[in-house]
Amino acid sequence: MAEAPAKRITDIGPPHHKKFLPPVILNNYGKWKYHEIPRPGVLLHVGETGDKLWSVRAASPRLIAIDTLRWYADLADKYAGGHLRFTSRNNVEFLVTEEKNVDPLIAELTAAGYPVGGTGNAISNIVHTQGWVHCHSAATDASGIVKCVMDELTPYFTSMKLPGKLRIALACCLNMCGAVHCSDIAILGIHRHAPAIKHDQVKKVCEIPSVVAACPTAAIRPATVEGNASVEVIEENCMYCANCYTVCPAMPLNDPDTDGVSIWVGGKVSNARTEPRFSKLAIPFLPNNPPRWPEVTEVVKKLVELWAADARKYERMGDWIERIGWPRFFKLAGIEFQKQHIDDFKHAGLTFKRSTHIRFDKA
């Protein structure tokens, strides 16, 4: 750590947001009346006073260079009185008060390769994580898969023709940075081999009791290996969560051959209609196949279109599957139901089918 400078400013927190809000917002703060979506990617909010605000939403790769940020600033100055924001799904929004600016702004964004959309019954940006760009823990890349999947799904970003919202998220390991576990479709990096233990280092860089305590399935126990105080992993109890690696760098799990991604479906967050719920395992494993991950993009697209074709209005992915039932979902999706789909962790019994409410395939 650097030495402390003479006069340090600390603990000031972020700037107060009111400094950054445009006048139309300051004037209508808490007094918006309703909104409309005049075209995909544009939200029109109308205040009690009649004031109007057009928010223009554009796609973002999330990993952005300051060059692009400065261009955003320029666009904001040109069309939006210098006001912009980012959304909880990492899109950028320009806060426009003059209707005439909306179309030129959209034209400029689109021309530069930043599609406008993500509103209403659309697919918005993929919430994701660091992957091979920054994290030591990643079982797959993040930005790369996101790019490939969204390349396929852009038409659903720029239009609003889906039955409801569809939220996709990606996390590159089981730590699940982001709300992957409650997404309509989640893409999750996974390992499939127990940690490789560097026995000569464990004692030096890790606290053995913490390592033992870190394992959700109690697969780790202290052991002396080749004369080193270390740990051993009971391989059949290991499900590759990498929590041991999180607390102990001497236990890496990354492996080019067996790492890959799994696909989860049917989660949601909003309370609209049905309660929030977790995503469930659809496809246990797809290989890491950079740079374009064809297996992943294909299956995500297929799942989206299956849902889009069959779901009722407003029916989120999970609501749709609940209605048609998981057996039919597996059949329609052409996914083989495997051992891995059946829960075998703590609450497993509660996920078993505890009734005869079965739908049979009729001949």
């Binding site: 950054f20 808490g30 999330r62 982001g178």
Partner: protein, 396 residues
């Protein structure tokens, strides 16, 4: 450009979606970190494995959080990313900026780092991606000068975040941004100096649509709600119907409270059966609005799977009025932290802690009464604890 050819990454510049590779390339000629990032990433794409080493304790003076240390495992080949730390800069509430603020951030980050960012990280911070150790402190100083501070990391309060709420949404039942700001300021010490058993996240959504996914990923989820009746503008209802909305199919049939009636002319809601799901309001924003007695529902404990399995937050306070400076909520948070810091295990999130000690005991410890709204249903197993000895003693 990258110093090495990047045929794999180049593939990711094709297609309609904006490309992160293009973003990195924009800086590749300007900063060694960016060209070497391309190089090392291409290597990962070839080898199907990351090239970053585990952690590394770096930071700014006096803070325990806000910086994620990162070193690559090929520093000879890619010296530009030998150090590649990230700084988590606390974003303004709901991610509103002026162009000026953006430019200020860009200037600071151009001077002290790679010039690559995430706008934003999953917790909500501005992520400055790729900083050398020696640049951390000067960068921090300039940020502070410009009015910015770092966010959380490690076992501390994480950067609170919120939806745009009253700033840009007619449904906000409380001032999410004001609340988020107040919590962030009030708990500056807890945010910068990790002293908890594990991380603690606060997310604030203005209504049950929960546009910051707070119920899935915040130890404390503050979700706006109302407790009186949905406001109905009958004329606008008629307009929707005239405009072709199938109110019976689209609204009535989707109401989980089964409490909306539509006779083709008048829409009525039996509000005591309303579950506050927002659906009817979502579908008819001009005609329906949340009630006037507004506040929030407090929920506790969501988190990612490791280690006991993922959790969703569950109801702690069904309804609370949201009044600045939110002293009651601050006190509640402090009570929660006290109990959790006292008895929580290392790396045990508060949601897991509650499951271990029991919700009933936890409520007693923080001084809240049990409420049937806290449960989906009462217990099914007959494993009920009593403390008759203690009770008798306390009767005396």
């Amino acid at each position: 450009m990258a110093k090495v050819p990047t045929p794999k990454l180049d593939e990711l510049e094709k297609g309609p979606w904006p490309s992160f590779v293009t973003e990195i390339k924009k800086r590749a000629d300007k900063h060694a970190a960016c060209s070497d990032l391309l190089g090392i990433l291409e290597r990962s794409y070839n080898e199907k494995i990351g090239h970053w080493k585990h952690g590394g304790i770096v930071g700014v003076f006096g803070y325990g959080g806000g910086v994620i240390g990162r070193y690559c495992d090929l520093p000879e080949d890619f010296p530009g990313v030998a150090h590649f730390h990230t700084m988590r800069v606390n974003m303004p509430a709901a991610w509103f900026y002026t162009s000026e603020a953006i430019r200020t951030l860009c200037d600071i980050w151009e001077k002290h780092g790679s010039g690559l960012t995430n706008m934003h990280g999953s917790t909500g911070d501005i992520i400055f991606l790729g900083c050398r150790t020696e640049d951390l402190e000067p960068c921090f100083a300039e940020l502070a000068e410009a009015g910015f501070d770092l966010g959380g990391s490690g076992s501390d309060l994480r950067t609170p975040s919120c939806c745009c709420g009253m700033a840009r949404c007619e449904w906000a039942c409380y001032d999410t941004m004001g609340f988020c700001y107040e919590m962030t300021q009030h708990f500056q010490d807890e945010l910068h100096r990790p002293a908890f058993p594990y991380k603690f996240k606060i997310k604030a959504a203005g209504c049950p649509n929960d546009c910051v996914a707070s119920i899935a990923r915040a130890d404390l989820s503050v979700i706006g709600n109302w407790r009186d009746n949905i406001q109905i503008d009958a004329a606008e209802v008629t307009n929707y119907a005239k405009a072709g909305l199938d109110i019976a199919a689209d609204v009535v049939n989707n109401c989980p409270g089964q409490c909306i009636r539509w006779d083709g002319k008048t829409l009525t809601i039996k509000d005591e059966d309303c579950k506050h799901c927002m659906h009817c309001i979502n579908v008819m924003p001009k005609a329906l609005r949340p009630g006037k007695e507004r506040g929030a529902t407090l929920l506790l404990g969501s988190k990612a799977p490791i280690m006991e399995g993922a959790l969703l937050s569950s109801v702690l306070v069904p309804f609370i009025e949201m009044e600045e400076p939110y002293d009651d909520i601050k006190e509640l948070i402090e009570a929660i932290w006290e109990v959790w810091c006292e008895d929580g295990k290392n790396r045990e999130r508060v949601g897991e802690f509650i499951q271990r000690v029991g919700m009933g005991n936890f409520l007693e410890a923080i001084g809240l009464e049990p409420d049937p709204n806290m449960v989906a249903h009462p217990r099914e197993n007959p494993y009920v604890f009593y403390n008759l000895n203690e009770e008798e003693e306390s009767d005396e």
